[in-house]
């Protein structure tokens, strides 16, 4: 392993050999034995690891887990007895139904607004309605 490869290894995986990919570990450790520069780079990478190690979890794990366990089991108890393909199928049908309903409403709205056969565009109709409302609402 070259020093440049070793530097990259440290930049990705940090200074702890346990985190290094198994395929690289042996060659990296051999380089550490031979190269003072490699040891210096490892010490430098260790600084960032120490900062990361000192970061506490932003949560009281035990208290949260205790609180959540009951809630998770209670919610799971209300779920269907055996989650199966039928549940997925039902979900897909529900989604398909919602899609068809939205598409039908869109087509209906388009038909109502555009008045088939009328050469005037729907945007003209809307604009004239707006104009009429605005002109009638002044002081």
């Amino acid at each position: 392993m070259t020093l440049s490869e070793f530097r990259r290894l440290l930049e990705i995986w940090g200074s702890d050999p346990q985190r290094w990919p198994a395929g690289d570990r042996e060659r990296a450790i051999a380089l550490l034995g031979d190269s003072p520069e490699a040891r210096r780079l490892k010490d430098e990478a260790r600084k960032l690891d120490r900062a990361l190690d000192a970061m506490p979890l932003p949560i009281d794990l035990q208290a949260s887990a205790r609180r959540l366990k009951g809630a998770v089991l209670a919610r799971a108890a209300r779920l269907p007895e055996k989650p199966g393909p039928r549940d997925w199928l039902r979900l897909y049908w529900a989604r398909a139904g919602a899609f068809v309903a939205v598409a039908a409403v869109a087509i209906l709205l388009g038909w109502v607004i555009s008045e088939p056969g009328d050469p005037h565009s729907s945007s003209d109709d809307v604009a004239s309605l707006l104009m009429r409302d605005t002109s009638g609402s002044g002081p």
Binding site: I12, W13, P21, A51, L61, S64, A65, A76
Partner: protein, 185 residues
């Protein structure tokens, strides 16, 4: 007799029973892995309220999505990490529910007042630097650094390649180093 087996059964065996609708398998898995889900979500999201929401949803998805579990394809824990991380990434598209400043830093109680203050400031700086990372970089760091996953496992969780994970880790560590060093830490 299955009643004797729950405590010693592997996660994968429990999943096999869960797919058949066995609620006790689910309870055993929840007891074993809720901590893991909470820890991972907390690291990726940076606050307790969001982490609890995601961990709860993730455990319920273990039940509702058990049919999509494929034995032999990945370990149960890798599958769970994938659920947690995907939910966390989705949540990050919405604003956070708890300001990060409300999170208390843990300081060694035996430290003197000056040392404790210094330690708090250092932790706050590291926390802010991590919080400023893009969420996928934070997820990669959480999985590989804090949870000890291999690059290949993290790649599976994040639906990317090994090179992709290495790129995320490289950028994350470089950015952290740059930010922390510039503040003299």
């Amino acid at each position: 007799m299955r009643t004797q087996d729950y405590a010693t059964a592997s996660d994968e065996e429990l999943m096999g029973w869960l797919v058949e609708g066995d609620r006790r398998s689910f309870e055993t898995l929840a007891n074993r892995h809720l901590d893991r889900a909470l820890r991972t979500a907390a690291r990726v999201l940076g606050n307790a309220a969001d982490a609890e929401e995601i961990a709860q949803e993730a455990m319920l998805k273990v039940w509702t999505r058990s049919q999509s579990w494929r034995p032999g394809r990945a370990k149960f824990t890798t599958w769970l990490y994938q659920i947690v991380v995907n939910l966390a990434l989705d949540l990050r598209r919405r604003p956070s529910t708890e300001p990060l400043d409300r999170i208390e830093e843990a300081v060694d109680p035996s430290a003197s007042a000056g040392a404790a203050l210094e330690e708090r400031q250092r932790q706050r700086a590291v926390r802010k630097a991590i919080e400023q990372l893009p969420v996928r970089q934070r997820a990669a760091l959480t999985l590989c650094y804090y949870e000890g996953l291999s690059g290949q496992e993290a790649a599976h969780v994040l639906s990317t390649s090994l090179k992709g994970v290495e790129g995320l880790l490289l950028r994350a560590r470089r950015m952290l180093k740059q930010r922390l060093w510039s503040q003299g830490l």
